[in-house]
């Protein structure tokens, strides 16, 4: 499942851009690959991050993955709920399973992201 209004990355993150803020999470494909998520190491508030840096890591029973920052900026919000309920990412990856909000420092980077269509094509290609 892929939502049209979001942007995507090759490493299966989604990005919702609202003004100068970008909300980030992982896609349905990514959460189904990880299976039951048991722990999310949330990023630090205020952390300044560059596009492509590791934002945080997610662990499931049998695997572990890193989430990369799709855009550069400062972490201004994190989804604290994920500490007690990491399974929200499995249940609702595009909604309640959001991970962090970044205040965008370089708006040009948004054009480098994949559109929903491009991401879908990429998934088809990987099959």
């Amino acid at each position: 499942m892929v939502l049209d209004e979001f942007y995507y990355t090759k490493s299966h993150e989604w990005v919702k851009v609202e003004g100068e803020k970008a909300t980030i999470g992982i896609t349905d494909f990514a959460q189904s690959e990880l299976q039951d998520i048991v722990y999310v190491e949330l990023p630090e508030m205020g952390k300044v991050i560059n596009k492509g840096d590791v934002l945080c890591s997610i662990d499931s029973v049998k695997s572990s993955a890193e989430v990369y920052a799709p855009v550069s900026g400062e972490v201004v919000e994190v989804n604290e709920k994920l500490s007690a309920e990491p399974e929200l990412i499995n249940k609702d990856p595009y909604g309640e399973g959001w991970i962090a909000v970044i205040k965008i420092s370089n708006p040009d980077e948004i054009s480098e992201l994949l559109s929903a269509k491009e991401y879908e094509e990429m998934l088809e290609g990987e099959k």
Partner: protein, 446 residues
Amino acid sequence: MSRYIPLTERDKEEMLKEIGVSSIDELFSSIPPELRFKGTIDIEPIKEEASLVEYFKKIEAQNRFSDKKIFLGAGAYNHYIPYAVDFLSMRSEYLTPYTPYQPEVSQGNLAATFEYQTYIAALTGLEVANASMYEGATATAEAGLMALRIKKGKIALAKSLHPQYKEVIYTYLEKQNYEIIEIGYEEDGRINLEELDEKIDNTFSAFIVGYPNFFGIVEDLKSIHEILREKKVLLITSTWEPLALALIVPPGKTGAEIAVGEAQSFGLPLAYGGPYLGFFATLKKHVWKMPGRLVGMTKDVEGKRGFVLTLSAREQHIRRQRATSNICSNEAWCALRVAIYLSLLGRKGLRKLALLNHKRAVKALEMLEEKGFKAKFTGPFFNEFVIDVGQDGEEFRDKLLNRGLVAGYPIGKDYPKLKNCLLLTFTEMNSPEDIGTLVKEMEALK
């Protein structure tokens, strides 16, 4: 034909036929001929069991310590091991299985490990403990690495930390370019609190201290923690005589957030240094940064209680180079022995044993003081202390060796200022008579 390989010549023929080759040699054809060894490794077999046993008995007979009275500690302790520990741990079901990755057929190991984790958490006054590390020194180095995952910064070590443990910490931490400093000690053998306050600031990640320290002295952890707390520096304790923790305030109750050490005292033979067992405990909030395996309790599909390896994503087989540690095989069988030992001794027995050790050491010091020897440090000790012998410690010990006594460890090897001292250790295995002999012989050499 080996007694360990259950294949007859007939079996081999049939198997080769099934595979479709005419000789075992053909099965190695994927190895280029120039890389194949055509000879035989030059080691003579000893096929008869009696001869094999004899061979090793002869080697052991070259050892010369069984008739000596030994007063050594400094990282390994002579405690009596109840025979039931051997009896139980030597069962095939405990000695020969693999790591419990298939929990449905490993509940025995997993439950025993869960008990071991419980014992260590309770002993250290902390909340969770892992299923074991290799031994005390690497456990201490890994504690430092864990602290650095919690908060980046420099590491401070007590000068009075076990010298071998310090060496290992340097070997591990230097490889990752972490800065390390050392904090000295006072006349009472405890940490120099002024120096601690002066040299440490909030750019430090953690301070690692021996508890008791290498001089056998029990540190004032509360005062140390007070200084560290406002600088947001983690307190880590390392304990290589864990019997002390049955008598002294556990690290977890003084503000330490990670407590590690060596569990050999609890049911593992001295065995010339190994296999031993590193224990590792911390607060639950840090559990995802902790190295090593963890056993958790859960339920099966029928609602039955069961145990399973858990939080595995921290480990090397999942996180690979991002893992909390590279540790895979640990000391699981040793941990089982510790659980059995502590179950036998129990709440009261362990306490009694600790008191007995301490009283013997106190009495020994009293007797030595009567003869004019002085303890080097004035601080409180558990079952070992540093004594000033008024002459070169190593030579003094060598002379006593000729009288059938191994009078402790010449601590001057690691602390040049203590060249005229010996680290003496007393456990329940040193009888009052033997202690009397030691004192007498030491007096004669004064």
